[in-house]
Amino acid sequence: MNGRDAGFRGEIAKGLFAENPVFVKALGLCPALAVTNSAINGLAMGLATTFVLFMSSLLVSALRRLIPSQVRISTYIVVIATFVTVADFSLQALAPAIHREMGAFIALIVVNCLILGRAEAFASRHPVPAALGDALGMGAGFAGALILIGGVREVLGSGALFGFALFGPRFEPWVVMILPPGGFLVVGVLLLLFARRAAARERAAAAEERR
């Protein structure tokens, strides 16, 4: 962050690319790997996290002058835990199949460092609109990353995307990709691609300056 307020729309764009929580900041890795064996699970996890992030940013930002700084972390955690409970119960009622598949990981949004990190680093020092923009951007960046990881793993591991078969019956699924090792390997390769893109950009910028 370079100190100035980028406004609502700027905050959203920032979360999607330049400060993408998963690929650039490496926050919230546990759920990003654990539930992404299909694109639809990644989408559900991304939406649930965005909801919790949005609501807790709203509350933390609105109450930022009332929360004494000595107990702020505990306050944030109670706020976050409350909204995670709401998300957990809602998902259980609305989409029981997905809720069963993700097991404890919805409840584990409480300890997702992305949410506490944004509450402490951003929402507690900015007015409500900027905090909401930041929450939406970070949430969208997180959901996007999860859908990307889940999509790659689903296409390779079960030959489908969002549950629709892609390759016909002769496709031999690469099963390891939907098992735990596949998560590490896919994220490793995606990180490599991101690093390569950043390196290419830097080289281009350096060449621009020399001219």
Partner: protein, 193 residues
């Protein structure tokens, strides 16, 4: 009875290793696994907090949360945060040297999802007091094992000639993928799934 306990222990230690097959506690796994010594100490501190959390979560679940199940998440996170705070105070008083060695990693255990997951799994699988403690010991030692293996491999990788792009997080993930593949070989041990 004891065979069932052994099954829980081995399952948490190897077959369903918290780090390598459940993806829990990845932040310290990638952040702190640079040096062998630190990795081992962090693993032991983790195990200790897990044991106490297991005890506290069992007591809470049995005596308090029966009356208000919707408070589970809030109650657990507060218990974990105060346990870590308490452990920190005890270690500071009892062994200042260990306290200095652990440094910032001690308070950060609060936001380690492996601890929270331990309490949640224990509740959802209906483990009793003894089963819970055995489960916590297995999970804690499993996390320590993964941390130490990873740290050893990364110390080795420091000395080899790796392409510049691969250095850092990307390579750690690929190493973890191979480690996780190796741990899949334990599947089916003791009938654990």
């Amino acid at each position: 009875m004891s065979a069932a306990l052994l099954g829980i222990f081995v399952s948490a230690l190897l077959v369903n290793n918290f780090t390598l097959s459940y993806f829990l506690g990845l932040c310290p796994f990638f952040g702190v696994s640079g040096r062998l010594q630190t990795a081992f100490r962090l693993g032991m501190a983790n195990t200790f907090v897990m044991l106490i959390t297991s005890l506290a979560a069992w007591a809470l679940h049995t005596y308090v949360l029966i009356h208000a199940p919707y408070l589970m998440l809030i109650a657990y996170i507060l218990v974990i945060a105060s346990t870590v705070q308490f452990v920190e105070m005890v270690i500071k008083k009892a062994s200042p040297a260990l306290f200095r060695a652990l440094g910032i990693f001690l308070p950060l255990i609060t936001t380690n999802c492996a601890i929270m997951a331990l309490a949640l799994f224990q509740t959802s699988r209906g483990y009793g007091l003894l089963q819970g403690l055995v489960f916590a010991a297995g999970a804690g030692l499993g996390v320590t094992l993964a941390l130490v293996l990873m740290a050893g491999l990364r110390e080795e990788a420091e000395l080899s000639n790796v392409p510049a792009l691969l250095r850092g997080t990307a390579m750690s993930f690929l190493i973890a993928g191979v480690l996780s593949l190796a741990f899949m070989g334990f599947a089916g041990l003791f009938g654990g799934s």
